[in-house]
């Protein structure tokens, strides 16, 4: 009976941790997307995007540290590569900044979808 109780406890913990991980990833990715929306708005308004880009980079670094414990490295490698360029592009006022932000947004959405337990992501 002890084994059954331990197993039930472990199962409940795993379920709790999985739900927490899914919620956390969704929340963090939503914040990242908000940062990207701000950068896009600033680009459209012709404002300096450096501060927002740095904020995005900081958010991404924070997210990456914890996400690497629960998400495969290969899912984070590409977004990491793109996110690393954004601050530099913003500082240089490069024309590539909008496409880089859009690319990162797309990858972030994919990450969110992958970690959300929907039918399409499970199957």
């Amino acid at each position: 009976m002890t084994r059954v109780k331990i197993s039930a406890l472990i199962l409940a913990s795993l379920i709790g941790m999985s739900i927490f991980a899914s919620v956390w990833v969704n929340e963090k990715c939503s914040r990242l997307i908000d940062c990207m929306d701000r950068i896009e708005q600033e680009i459209q308004e012709g404002k300096d995007t450096t501060v927002s880009a740095r904020e995005l980079e900081k958010e991404w670094t924070d997210f990456r540290k914890t996400a690497s414990v629960m998400i495969r490295n290969d899912k984070l490698t590409e977004p990491e590569r793109v996110a690393g360029r954004i601050t530099l592009l913003a500082q240089q006022g490069s024309q590539d900044l909008p496409s880089a932000v859009e690319e990162l947004r797309h990858m972030t959405r994919q990450l969110m979808h992958g970690e959300t337990p929907k039918l399409t992501s499970v199957l």
């Binding site: 084994r3 059954v4 331990i6 197993s7 039930a8 472990i10 199962l11 795993l14 941790m17 999985s18 690497s68 414990v69 629960m70 998400i71 495969r72 490295n73 290969d74």
Partner: protein, 231 residues
């Protein structure tokens, strides 16, 4: 390399924990679901070992989930005969009253070669000796011989014998095992007296067994064996 080493140690401990959690049933004959879980766990455990890009928690989660789910299902099997039948199936009789049930053999896809091989593994080389045979849910075959062909028991030969439990190991590598000693009904003081009587130091004993009748057997560290009976 350091990372791989630490991950290997973690996964080793986890697999040991998982096997222990599944219990002694896992180490004996396997039910179909247990066999599936064993194979799955061994395969899943290798993935985070081979690929350091996989977080350890992504490797640990399916192992723990499968093992814990199996333990919970096996508990539910205990309390629900219907569920037990669905998951483990039920034993099938293939020989009854000495007659082979071909229909059941066909249902089980059990060939004549499978049957004779299973009987040979039980030490039966003559089909005419078999009274009753059952294919268990694990796939093994349990056989009952005809009375006339079976090994006679003491009861058949009208020989009386006293029932007693098997001996317990009470000293292992010089250390007295108190829990086992309690099972024999011998106290530690009594044990020490017995050993003194036979000029034996417990530290020189490799293994000592005793039963409730106080029949003792010592295998010494120097290779000598001693058997004696306590009073």
């Amino acid at each position: 390399m350091c990372v791989v080493l630490i991950r290997s140690l973690i996964l080793y401990l986890l697999v040991i924990f998982a096997v222990r959690l599944m219990g002694k049933r896992q180490l004996g004959e396997l039910q179909p679901s247990e066999l599936v879980i064993t194979i799955l766990v061994s395969n899943i455990a290798t993935l985070p070992l081979e690929d350091v890009d996989i977080p350890i928690i992504v490797g640990v989660t399916p192992i723990l989930a499968l093992v814990c789910f199996e333990v919970v299902i096996s508990w539910l099997n205990l309390i629900s005969p219907k569920l037990r039948k669905v998951i483990s199936g039920s034993p099938k009789v293939i020989i009854s009253n000495g007659r082979i049930d071909r229909e059941t053999m066909r249902e089980l896809r059990f060939s004549v070669d499978d049957l004779t091989m299973a009987l040979r593994s039980q030490g039966i080389f003559d089909l005419s000796e078999v009274q009753f045979a059952v294919v268990e849910t694990t796939g093994s075959v349990s056989v009952m011989k005809k009375s006339g062909k079976d090994t006679p028991t003491r009861e058949d030969m009208k020989i009386t014998a006293k029932d007693c439990d098997p001996p317990h190991v009470i000293i292992s590598d010089g250390i007295i095992l108190n829990a086992a000693l309690n099972n024999t009904g011998i106290t530690e003081a009594e044990l020490n007296r017995l050993l003194r009587l036979h000029s034996i130091d417990s530290r020189d004993i490799f293994i000592m067994t005793a039963d409730r009748e106080k029949n003792c057997f010592c295998s010494m560290k120097d290779g000598k064996n001693l058997a004696f009976k306590g009073e």
